[in-house]
Subunit: 324 residues, 2 copies
């Protein structure tokens, strides 16, 4: 069970390795949202997404003799790069199982970070079974993408920074919108805010049609997505919230939000124009909700986590062509 | 004459208004350059460029009764936005004289920041005369773009941050490549480094064909550019180095560098891919030199200032289409 003590310990291990991303603002975005908008650009994190935090937190906590055998992870791309970079930073091997339809940039980057990449068919193969088999064969430690207390603790360090940075800007009461897949980032941030900034409330944001977390929160029990592919927000499409993350989300988060793919693309274009940052569709849904769902958010300010920026150039160009 | 005391005083006035931009890195960029590359992304600064620092420094230093009458500035765009935002932050009017061929985004943003924009023909009209006339008529204080000690002091705060952040990363000896127009940013950084990080040496970087500063440093006397328009690096095209900035550059800077427009575009695409930041051509020349002029730089590390990100979407899309 992840606690604030574990999150603070993870922050200590991440110190000097992960980046403390700033909190960005723009009067142009404030005008669209009708309130102050503070953006936490985790696209500027090492490997281009928050996933490095969880990867480093987990790999750095392993016993040295266990870590030396190597780690394995399955991921559509951002967790892959986070774990690959964390393994490289510790000088140990990494095997990454990736869906064959993951963005090419993410596959290439994962390989370039020194990992062995094993591709699988997202529709036909069971990545969990494949991962377990490889782990057993080679003595690798599986680093789960979200349903793992050490990973949640690492992602929670984002929440520690948000609490401190928002207070510096005079914001102590606000919704904190978080791009949500399996719930690792959202639950980690929620735990950090509970301890450090009780006036800030984490809320998951998902793409329409893949809103398993919002529906699970509403139902009070874990709900699944019907589809698992076909979204440009690939980074945050998961079958269902985690067994470990969901109880945390249920206890601490406000209602979930969902935005369309077009709204995510518009948010990408606005982040380009107004914040000068590059975000991927899955990393843009929280900003999209902050900008285009003002009626669903309360208060004078809203905080949006821009969770990652690993987007293929073609898709980014499309967003600019349509909306910039 | 700008001193380190003035730069530190400017840092005090900027505190809580300007952003302390991070120092970004990527193993992919290190590999291209053949050494560690540290990037100071001033595109993430308020108004999307370092110019906010100088604008705020100058406007905040005016006597209240002088400031209340308003300020005036001439600029191809980034200084315009910096002064407009600084004036707005102090609640005083701003008149900005801009060339009619400035990027539309910069003109629009300057107006949206509450300034009155006056357009002029860069080839036919004398912007200095136009500015002086308007200033006299309305009692406005002219905020020069670079040849003004308070503006240089504001830009120099970038150097204070670089000195501290590079030391944190263990870098105490390196060239600091700075995108250079009139020399305000470069001279301010050079003064800050002289006092705070004597192992770091500022070096101006310009677009080929507009390398007045490099030629002036080589000649030992101020040299002019033949052309004043026709560069995509519009943000850093100036007739010649300033009378105040040049002696500072001459005393403290290493030799200047120049890169092609194509190299600037390639650096923009690499900053998109590897750092997840948006930089404009004129803000990309220092990174381009760090990546593509390795033989002209000494040492195990190089620091590049990415000075601004106010680029029209069409041009950015072209950079991605060609090089990402």
């Amino acid at each position: 069970m992840t606690s604030i003590t574990m999150i603070e310990a993870a922050a200590g291990r991440l110190n000097g390795h992960a980046r403390r991303t700033p909190l960005l603002t723009s009067p142009f975005l404030d005008e669209i949202a009708g309130r102050r908008v503070l953006v936490k650009p985790e696209c500027l994190q090492v490997t281009g997404s928050f996933k490095f935090r969880g990867g480093w937190s987990a790999v750095s906590a392993l016993a040295p003799e266990v870590r030396a055998k190597g780690v394995i992870a399955f991921s559509s791309g951002n967790h892959a790069q986070g774990v690959a970079a964390a393994a490289k930073g510790h000088g140990v091997p990494a095997v990454i199982i990736m869906p064959s339809d993951a963005p090419k940039l993410k596959i290439d980057n994962t390989r370039a970070l020194g990992a062995e990449v094993v591709l699988y068919d997202r529709a036909k193969e069971d990545r969990d079974a494949l991962g377990a088999k490889l782990a057993a064969e080679r003595g690798l430690t599986l680093i789960k993408p979200f349903d793992e207390p050490l990973v949640i603790a690492g992602q929670g360090t984002t929440g520690l920074e948000i609490a401190a940075q928002a207070a510096e800007l005079g914001v102590t009461e606000a919704d904190v919108l978080v791009c949500c897949g399996g719930g690792g980032l959202t639950s980690g941030i929620a735990l950090a805010l509970e301890a450090k900034a009780p006036g800030l409330r984490a809320r998951p944001v998902e793409p329409e049609g893949f809103d398993d977390v919002a529906r699970s929160l509403k139902a009070g029990t874990i709900q699944r997505n019907d589809r698992l592919s076909g979204s440009i927000c690939d980074a945050i499409v998961t079958p269902q919230p985690g067994d470990i993350t969901f109880p945390i989300l249920k206890r601490l988060c406000g209602p979930g939000l969902a935005v369309s793919e077009d709204e995510a693309m518009r948010a990408m274009a606005l982040a380009f124009l107004r914040l000068k940052i590059v975000i991927e569709p899955g990393g843009a849904v929280a900003l999209a909700a902050a900008l285009f769902r003002p009626e669903a958010v309360a208060g004078d300010a809203v905080i949006a986590v821009a969770s990652g920026g690993n987007v293929d150039a073609d898709l980014f160009r499309q967003a600019l062509e349509r909306y910039a």
